[in-house]
Amino acid sequence: MEKEYIGELEELVLLLIVMLKDDAYGLAIRKALKEQASRTVTIGAVHGTVNRLEGKGFIESRLGGATEERGGRHKRIFSLTASGRKVLERSRDVKVNLWRQIPELAINKLG
């Protein structure tokens, strides 16, 4: 049985994987984290996170192309699985639901 809850970094990474599509590999995710969420993490941390997510069954991976910059080494391209999609949606729903229940904060901030 997979764990139903995901952490904040995990959620971000999942979203970014969807966004990056065919370019969703370790270093690219790190870069996107920096640009989109202003989060600087080590490469090791990104690899650790995707590894964990794959273990939980939220993402799957395939080998991608090797370039010269990589010294001829393959990329590992990640993509979302069905359960990954479910857990993202659930996470969003919970938050949206919560936001709805606190209109004053929502109005002040979002309005």
Partner: protein
């Protein structure tokens, strides 16, 4: 951008990475990293490398690490299981675990401390590289029972010239630590050191920090210990610098040696200076009539100590005067390995030294204390074994082999022993400084000594095996069917071994307590013994050298003029020595068969030494007839059997008649444990071997000593001022017994503590086992007192048995120990009464704690369980 050479990431980082990262992840990780490295192209190279390394090291995460230990074998799973079960067992019974581990840790701490101490004793002097070939010269003679190490320096020259083929090197060392003020500019330190000949540092293979071992060749040179050099010169190399000794002599520093460890003969020296410097101006190193040096030598490896000893035995004979020759001085070599533990002689032959005895005593005590802790462990695990019988039944039903069960139980006891060992290491580190003070040592924890770890781990292994043997071998043999059916019941006899072990424990503890009390009693008894003279403020000094001839009165005058000295006197033998025996006394023609301790003294001896007159008076300079007077002590008076000894006349041999002037109290001259001798004191006016100085009680010793030394330096410049304080010399006679007493006190305390911990565990176990019985009894109307009595009785009986066993045993051994002293206390019944009372009280207190807890518990609760 093409990947040129300097744009390759650091190779070593990649290597490290591929070493620890899982193979199937390696490719993508390396790929990402090298892409990252390229991104950094506009940074300086060092920064790129630094960042790269930073990221590489951040792959040290569980997900990425290779599995270095294969864990898919059945064995590791099984051991993991054992460990888990053992750990859970420990946690489930926190109280028992605490008692087990605590007791075992205390026992091990004692055992380790004692092992360290014994190791220190046995490795004395081993610091020196030539340990196997170094020897010290000893001398025996016909008249003295002990062997002396202090020789005339001439002997060393003879050994060097006539027997030089045997030795690598021979070196004289001044037979006393010499205190000197060593100064550089304003920095002045009063330091002790040795004066030795060149050759000494080489024999001792001093570890030179600066300079060389040959630094004592020139007379005006000095070698400093590393710590003294640090105090005088700081960290700089001081070779070639000048220091002054006693503000008079300028010496050049020729070397700095690393401090000698405390368990070496020369550890107290903080400087070494040439022996030639010591004798400069008053004597030479070739004299034969002045005994003031030790002789150390290193033999050539092709010779043996015995062979050389046999050859050189009579080396002194051609060179000494007739009187000395008559005493038949014989010399021999004592190898360095023997110095510390095997250098006590009686009548010229070696006897078991006090130090060696102490090694044995302590070793035995340490083993006993460890045994007590093991007994605790065994008792608690057997007591609880019934509870675990079901576990064994189920394991067996599930297909466990007996050997696997044995492994599990041994593993469990190993785990506990190992935990105890870790606690013990902490305790040893904590208590070592204190132990060093008591034992007068400078032991350090040998963290890096593989031998130590080997020894300690084998103790742990042995303890674990011993302690785990019963549950491992007995429980694993149980029949699964019987156990699970519930027909297995430990019989009445099952608790018998446990009871025997408890009796052994308490027998040992009680014996140790009795032993300690007896040692203290004997010590007090001997210390409170009236000695017949007053030791405080009394200095003794050997005045045998020719220089003293005819100078007695001048010396007395000068010393008294300093105002530091109340009185001085001389005698032919020391006041702490029992030499000088003569017979041939007669009263009115009636001869006495006995011999008496006869000494010759000067006029003021009685006043100086502080003799206590019970009758009559001291010699007086004003009465000329006193020259044929004598003073006797009470023992002698008893032997003479005269009703009114004062005024009676005795004849002595053919020397004429002597009038008894006074009777003094007996003096304890030899061992404080020996009976006093009947003694007779004659008047001899001048030139005797021992000089006594009674200090003026109104001035401090610090003030007095330099002034007295000045007087001697003026009148007898050729003789070293070798003084001893009579009270210090006397106190030394007790040092050994005092140390035994102190350590014994601690060990006996620990022994009883450990035993009580075991009892606490056992009583808790019994109370738990009988919890329903207690409940029913309570319901039926038993009072708390009844229950308390019921639960405590068994243990009290055991302790009473232990008392009955221990007391005769302890009495026998301690009586034998006391028999080695003539002036001995008797073991009073109070020792036994006190010990018995202590043991019973402690037992009751321990057991009652559990008993009362069980007896006051709510019976409803205990009956409702199960």
């Amino acid at each position: 951008m093409a990947a040129s050479k300097n744009q390759r990431p650091p190779k070593s980082a990649d290597k490290l990475l591929s070493w620890f990262v899982k193979d199937d992840l390696l490719d993508e990780i390396l790929g990402d990293l090298s892409e990252y490295y390229l991104e950094l192209a506009d940074r300086p190279k060092w920064k790129r490398s630094l960042f790269y390394w930073f990221h590489v090291l951040h792959f040290l995460r569980p997900f990425a690490l290779k599995r270095f230990i294969r864990s898919n074998s059945n064995y590791t799973t099984m051991f993991k299981h054992y460990f888990k079960i053992s750990w859970r067992n420990l946690l489930r019974n926190k109280g028992y675990s605490l008692i087990n581990i605590g007791g075992l840790a205390a026992g091990m701490t004692v055992a380790i401390l004692i092992s360290l101490w014994i190791y220190d004793e046995l490795s004395f002097n081993k610091y020196h590289k030539n340990y196997d070939t170094i020897a010290k010269v000893y001398r025996t003679n016909k008249f003295d029972s002990f062997a002396s190490t202090v020789h005339a320096p001439g002997l060393a020259s003879v050994l060097k010239t006539d027997y030089g083929d045997f030795f690598e090197d021979v070196a004289l060392v001044r037979a006393r630590l010499e205190e000197r003020v060593i100064a550089v500019g304003e920095k002045k330190f009063s330091q002790s050191g040795y004066f030795m000949q060149d050759g000494g540092p080489q024999i001792l293979t001093l570890d030179m920090k600066y300079g060389s071992q040959t630094g004592l060749k020139e007379m005006n040179s000095i070698m400093l210990s590393s710590s003294l050099a640090g105090k005088l010169f700081g960290e700089a190399d001081p070779v070639g610098e000048m220091v002054t000794m006693d503000a008079t002599t300028s010496l050049q520093v020729t070397g700095v040696y690393e401090d000698l460890p405390k368990n070496t003969e020369f550890s107290e020296a903080s400087y070494l200076a040439p022996a030639e410097l010591y004798v400069n101006g008053w004597t030479t190193l070739n004299v034969w009539d002045n005994y003031f040096t030790y002789i150390y030598l290193q033999i050539k490896p092709e010779h043996s100590f015995d062979e050389i000893s046999a050859t050189i035995a009579e080396a002194m004979m051609p060179h000494v005067d007739e009187e000395t020759a008559e005493s038949e001085p014989r010399i021999f070599l004592q190898p360095m390995s023997q110095w510390h533990l095997y250098s006590e002689f009686e009548n010229g032959t070696p006897v078991t030294s006090q130090r060696l005895k102490a090694v044995w005593y302590n070793g035995i005590i340490g083993a006993f204390v460890l045994l007590l802790a093991c007994i605790n462990f065994m008792n608690l695990s057997t007591a609880r074994s019934e509870k675990r019988a079901k576990e064994v039944g189920i394991l067996k039903a599930l297909g466990s082999h007996r050997s696997q069960l044995i492994q599990q139980f041994f593993g469990e006891s190993m785990l506990v022993t190992l935990l105890a060992f870790i606690v013990a290491i902490f305790l040893v580190v904590l208590t070592l400084p204190w132990f060093n003070v008591v034992a007068a040592k400078a032991m350090v924890f040998p963290w890096t000594n593989p031998l130590f770890w080997l020894a300690v781990l084998s103790i742990v292994l042995a303890t674990g095996l011993l302690a785990g043997s019963y549950p491992a071998l007995f429980l694993s043999s149980l029949n699964a069917v019987k156990v699970l059916k519930g027909t297995f019941k430990a019989g009445r006899l099952a608790s018998l071994p446990r009871k025997v072990l408890v009796v052994i424990q308490f027998t040992v503890s009680i014996s140790l307590i009795i032993g300690t009390l007896v040692v203290y009693q004997q010590l007090e008894y001997a210390k409170n013994r009236p000695v017949g003279y007053s030791r405080e403020g009394l200095i003794s000094l050997r005045s045998a050298s020719k220089e003293f001839k005819g100078k007695y009165l001048v010396l007395r005058n000068e010393l008294k003029q300093t105002g530091m000295v109340e009185e001085i006197a001389q005698a032919n033998y020391s006041v702490t020595d029992t030499r000088g025996w003569n017979g041939g006394f007669a009263w009115h023609g009636e001869k006495y068969e006995q011999t008496f301790n006869t000494i010759f003294v000067t006029y003021e001896y009685g006043k100086t030494v502080g003799l206590q007159f019970v009758d009559g008076r001291d010699f007086s300079r004003d009465i000329t007839s006193d020259k044929s007077g004598i003073i006797i002590n009470e023992s002698a008076a008893k032997l003479f059997a005269l009703e009114n000894p004062v005024g009676e006349e005795l004849t002595w041999q053919d020397r004429g008649s002597y009038t008894i002037l006074g009777v003094v109290k007996d003096m304890v001259k030899g061992s404080p444990y020996e009976p006093t001798d009947p003694s007779v004191m004659f008047l001899g006016e001048f030139d005797m071997s021992w000089l006594y100085i009674r200090l003026n009680p109104d001035v401090s010793t610090h003030e007095a000593l330099p002034k007295i030394r000045d007087v001697f330096a003026k009148l007898t410049p050729a003789t070293p001022f070798d003084y001893t304080f009579a009270d210090e010399a006397y106190a030394l006679k007790f040092a050994e017994e005092e140390r035994i007493g102190k350590l014994g006190f601690v060990f006996a305390g620990l022994a009883i503590l450990i035993s009580c911990m075991g009892l606490l565990g056992l009583s808790a176990f019994v109370a738990e086992q009988r919890i329903r019985e207690i409940g029913i009894r309570k319901v039926l109307g038993a009072s708390v007192a009844n229950l308390w009595q019921m639960l405590s009785k068994d243990f009290v009986v055991l302790v009473v048995i232990s008392c009955l066993v221990a007391m005769p045993l302890a009495w026998y051994f301690m009586d034998r120990w006391l028999d080695s002293f003539v002036y001995r206390s008797t073991i009073s019944w109070s020792v036994f009464a006190i010990t018995g009372a202590i043991a019973l009280l402690i037992t009751l207190a321990t057991v009652s704690f559990q008993a009362i807890k069980a007896a006051t518990a709510d019976p409803v609760k205990s009956l409702r369980t199960e």
